[in-house]
């Protein structure tokens, strides 16, 4: 392949990358303007959209034990995550049901949902 042809292809590839990059980086962060809420890759950090759900474990006797904020918990505090964008609603109930010996259900509460969500350990078991 001639040097001129290689140079043209390189220029075309650079143009495609340049334009595609801008389309993605300008277009995608606009999505939550219409859908609301928090979303990864959209630069909405510290803006009040992350709801930080609170979890309580209900045991066989019906007693509820609230958990500390998992993102701010240190070693040995029971349950924690290492990053701010873990989907706690998705991953916590099955994990708690599997690791807390007498857990019957998990209650999830957050700032934006008016009612508590109760996840039965029968349905959440991994």
């Amino acid at each position: 392949m001639s040097a001129e042809r290689t140079s043209s292809l390189k220029l075309a590839a650079s143009a495609v990358f340049f334009v595609s990059y801008l389309i993605v980086q300008v277009g995608y962060p606009i999505v939550p303007w219409f859908t609301g809420g928090d979303r990864a890759f959209t630069w909405r950090m510290f803006a009040g959209y992350d709801d930080e759900p609170e979890f309580s474990v209900v045991n066989d006797a019906g007693a509820a034990r609230p958990l500390a904020n998992a993102l701010r918990s240190g070693p040995g505090t029971g349950v924690r995550v290492l990053g701010p964008e873990v989907d706690q609603r998705r991953f916590f109930p099955p994990w708690l049901c599997a690791h807390v010996s007498d857990a019957r259900s998990i209650v999830v509460r957050d700032r934006v949902t008016p009612q508590d969500t109760v996840v039965s350990c029968r349905s959440a078991a991994p």
């Binding site: 650079s14 990059y21 959209t42 009040g48 924690r80 995550v81 290492l82 701010p84 998705r90 991953f91």
Partner: protein, 264 residues
């Protein structure tokens, strides 16, 4: 001039190599901090029973064996150091970008705005000779005064987009009430401020980000913008705590300021 010609002119233009090298060093230091944390977190994910694993896909790799931990952790740290000293910087940036993607598909515990931001910066550093100055390569005779401009331009645009979208996102009653600062601050002096002061801080941070999204592009405003930006990023650390993710994000952002130092 047609759009095609303008694009061709942009894609073939060059920029001074030293500001790019300064930026590379800053991002390399940020990458090293992030790499050490990721290596530690990868270990904790499989050795601390209180950490909740969060693999985003059914097919996510576990990276649980000791050889895998050593390989990923070692590559992260080595590539970060290579970026700092300017030794095969494009390859090092490419390795960091690939490992960022790998960690994203491995577990949501590695997700974060700082990881994404530095991942984008290392992606763009794979496309530019960032080790053409202030580097091992330059010391060995590979010094070049100018490098390809368009990836550098994308890095500058990316920083402006981060500021712009972050400012727009903060245009809501919850943030402007000061609630986010009050609930997330680790500084007792800030936590005990009145709602009016907290609301004022929130409005000031929004205004600073909105202004920075364009002010860095104007030579007359540039010095003031850099001062405001450094103060704002320092205030973020004072307000929300000196943890690795936040330090990495703020150091990466400030490192990109160096790219605005090219006077041409």
């Amino acid at each position: 001039m047609s759009i095609g010609r303008a694009l061709k002119s942009l894609l073939t233009s060059t920029t001074a190599s030293e500001p790019v090298a300064l930026c590379r060093i800053g991002i390399g230091i940020a990458a090293l901090g992030r790499s050490l944390k990721d290596a530690r977190d990868l270990y904790l994910l499989h050795h601390d029973p209180s950490v909740v694993p969060a693999p985003p896909f059914a097919w996510s790799p576990a990276l649980a064996t000791l050889p895998e931990l050593v390989l990923v952790g070692g590559l992260l740290v080595a590539a970060s150091i290579a970026l700092i000293v300017g030794f095969r910087a494009q390859l090092a940036a490419g390795i960091l970008t690939a490992l960022t993607v790998l960690l994203y598909i491995t577990d949501q515990n590695f997700w974060g705005h700082h990881v994404y931001f530095i991942g984008l910066m290392t992606l763009l550093l794979t496309l530019v000779d960032s080790d053409a100055a202030l580097s091992v390569r330059a010391l060995r005779g590979g010094l070049r005064a100018h490098v390809t401009n368009w990836p550098v331009l994308l890095m500058k645009i990316q920083l402006s987009l981060v500021y712009f979208f972050a400012a727009i996102a903060k245009l809501n009653a919850v943030f402007l009430s000061g609630y986010v600062i009050a609930s997330r601050t680790t500084h007792p002096g800030i936590a005990h401020q009145s709602p009016m002061v907290l609301s004022g801080l929130a409005a000031a941070s929004l205004a600073a980000e909105a202004w920075l999204s364009f002010a860095l592009w104007f030579p007359r405003l540039r010095v003031a913008a850099m001062v405001v930006g450094v103060v704002m990023h320092a205030m973020v650390l004072v307000t929300f705590g000196m943890y690795v993710g936040l330090i990495v994000f703020n150091l990466t952002a400030v490192s990109v300021y160096a790219l605005f130092l090219d006077r041409r």
